[in-house]
Symmetry: C2
Subunit: 545 residues, 2 copies
Amino acid sequence: MNAPMAVSKGPRRKFWSWGYEGQEIPESEVKSMHARVAQRLGMSDFTVLKDPTLDEIEIRAPRITPPASLTSFCTTAKWDRVAHSYGKSFRDLAMIYKRKYPNPPDIVAYPRDEKDISAVLDWCGENGYAAVTYGGGSSVVGGINPPDDSHYKGVVTIDLENFNRVLEVDPISRAARIQSGTLGPSLETQLKPHGFTLRHIPQSWEFSSLGGWIATRSSGHYATHLTHIDEMVESLRVVTPTGTIENRRLPSSGAGPNPDRAFIGSEGTLGIITEAWMRLQGRVRFRANAAVSFKTFYQGAKAVRQITQAGLYPANCRYLDEKDAFFYGAGDGSESMLLIGYESADHPVDAWLERSLEICRDFGGTVKDQAGSGGAALENSRSGAQGSWRNQFRYLPYLMHVRAAMGIISFTFETAYTWDKFEAVDAEIMRRIADAEKKICGGGIVCRRFSFLYADGPAPYYSIMAPSSHEKNIEHYAALNKVASDALIELGATITHHHAVGRSFRPWYDKEIDPGFVRMMKASKRELDPNWVLNPGVLFDRPAM
Amino acid sequence: MNAPMAVSKGPRRKFWSWGYEGQEIPESEVKSMHARVAQRLGMSDFTVLKDPTLDEIEIRAPRITPPASLTSFCTTAKWDRVAHSYGKSFRDLAMIYKRKYPNPPDIVAYPRDEKDISAVLDWCGENGYAAVTYGGGSSVVGGINPPDDSHYKGVVTIDLENFNRVLEVDPISRAARIQSGTLGPSLETQLKPHGFTLRHIPQSWEFSSLGGWIATRSSGHYATHLTHIDEMVESLRVVTPTGTIENRRLPSSGAGPNPDRAFIGSEGTLGIITEAWMRLQGRVRFRANAAVSFKTFYQGAKAVRQITQAGLYPANCRYLDEKDAFFYGAGDGSESMLLIGYESADHPVDAWLERSLEICRDFGGTVKDQAGSGGAALENSRSGAQGSWRNQFRYLPYLMHVRAAMGIISFTFETAYTWDKFEAVDAEIMRRIADAEKKICGGGIVCRRFSFLYADGPAPYYSIMAPSSHEKNIEHYAALNKVASDALIELGATITHHHAVGRSFRPWYDKEIDPGFVRMMKASKRELDPNWVLNPGVLFDRPAM
């Protein structure tokens, strides 16, 4: 069969990096990243690989082809298959730069409605194919990579780009019914005329979707309180191979276990989320924020803990160690830096910030920039340490591929654990990573920040960079990642706070989670997806069939 | 077999009402309740039934007896069986006053540890018996009443009174590991020396347990934000017929669906919660509060909505309609009354209250009593409208039986629904109840308050009182309850915000919840409890066996 006509209606994204085709990254930015990495790692030369072109990629012929009934929205075209082979993990980018595509999907489907989804799932179930749901493709955990399981005679990736609309806005309850394939910018653009915002802004925001956020328990803008998307879900609608499930739209309920929670975090294994009623926020009118430096990371952490336990709920409360602050342009490398901010659509929040800064001073913090309702808090958040961090945070995804192209190691891992063991666990993680970098790569750096915070513990985010080579970088990455992941599980932390489990972190998830709960998930899976079509290998194993 | 020795170590509670044996209700309180009911219903005489004595109760002989291996902690004694036959619903109390006990448990077990629990569950599973978990016995939804299902040859009630200790306190993370049978007062008494509080205070607090709160998604002290116990659970330990499940203690995680949420709200159907790590609060040092009256319920509701959507998170935000306010001594019957309060262990909360009162004034509210950090906020919360409400709220359970003894109807129902339909749904509910009261009972009253609040909707709580007779009250109650429950489900509300489903609300839960989710719960049930031992008939049906 000839490849069907292109059926995707969306603008094309670069298959090898962040951004749309034609969206140029200025050469100066690339050079600056080269220089920063060189400086960080104390290296002077790199072999920088060229960006791949589609012609250079070789993929196997599709093993299966869609039947006539599905061709109007399914394709086997090379670009679509290549573009849906990988997410955005370090390993994915390294494989892309090596032009290695051993396991592309056979078909990419772009369903136009739920009927199309059901038709694909039926066809997969009848024929022993796997189906992978694809939202924005930003997974860094192998969540959307086709399963490598010979049980399946083919793999269909279901791209939800046509599920891209805000269907209904309820301004009284401040909620909206939104299709799951809607990406961050489109979602906000559609809400803006109504005067609302979801205000869920993970670093992947431009190329991640509402459904992806829900399926992976994404965390977004808020550093405290509404951290996970979980809290913003009012109700879900989910298409499964055995029928569609729609939960009642409610502000809260005590009627049995929360039925949405069974799907929030299910990573595409139980059903395909097609719509959600989401809780919205008013647009921000009041801000108060500051940057506060601390001599040591642990000293400032004590202040951060007290702020978190005080019930003040800052919207922003990113706390960077001295190296992380330096890399983000938010410090000179000698001090840890807290970027704290409050916001409201309703009232001035100066009292909230004042109390937080009082706590910071009690723990030896030095307030660097401060602005409240009397001043220029919006401008303050966009300049100085806060502005540098914000700009870097938003722009960094566009430069991920630069590091993969250099033949070094660059990845992050994130977790959460309780405050009682914070210093001991953090010190042990830092020690193990530094040792492993030395042993495996001959050196490297590791730094960390708090990305999200809870009264009972922080969610620390660790960044790793180490020298390597194009021959060894995937092997080195796997070895370092194992050291990090083993440490998290051994030391009582979680394998992921907001990146999800996917295929990459299954071995550690298996150790974290009680086997009894895995039995429950598999029982639900058998009930909803008896042919085990949906995203096999993620979260739990396929039984022998 | 003779009845085994008494194996319960706890002080005896009255089997027919709230409170411990020997805890006298002053006759003046009883008379005052008689007078208030008479005044409310415009009735002048009642036949007040005497409180039942154990001798008057006739129950069938136990259908099963525990084997020797279990007798050290199991009993078939009459008192234990009678005391575990009913919860505290209006129907339960009416049946108790009629001395009707058609379906007592055959055995009451008081396990001393998890091994004892497993032994009972094994014995039940091998012999076709049902097991009902019993915490504080305060269910108003038939959640702990023995199932009336001839499939089971016997019923064992498992009372967790021996699981009554705070095992561990982590002052740094502000969390404690607590056994599930611990009742409210004991829990707080054990936490107090550590300087912490769980601050979860449902109206049933004195005679309800941590495990019961978790299994039923109880709501407690906080009117916003930390309303449900769900948010306070850090991790659970659960004994099931096929093994013990222990989830990792974490402040948060994005690793798969939250495993605790599968058990929170499972109402004893999937396993027996034995321990939980719970998040704690610092003891309150700062308060600010006020009472605000509004001319109409709907006018004030607009202010309450805006406060809730402003992200202010009052700890108390009970909003009573004019009749409810009058009944609680918090108003003269002409105006609706908002009791709003902020509290903190860390900082003055005057700014929060000020903004709330500004909103109230914008909507025509009249501030009656106000106190903040400069004044006597603690005293303020214990006097005036706030104090009257608080005292009545705490004391009312002690007088529940008085109304059942009078042969009238008195019950409450509670729900949650989104703000967009609030006035329409509330008006329709009020209309249907008033009509039904007239038709069924010849009259009666209905009033309501907001008990808990969310940005996307209120959790209204409706109180019903109607004339009836000792001959007809159960039938009348069933008819009125049907009208109320039908309305909730038809009008898009939930059948329960915090009382749970139990056996009483199953028909409406079946309509509220998607059958696909019921299939998932049943699949989990089959996996964990293959002999269908645990609390059959609650949440979902037993399959034909």
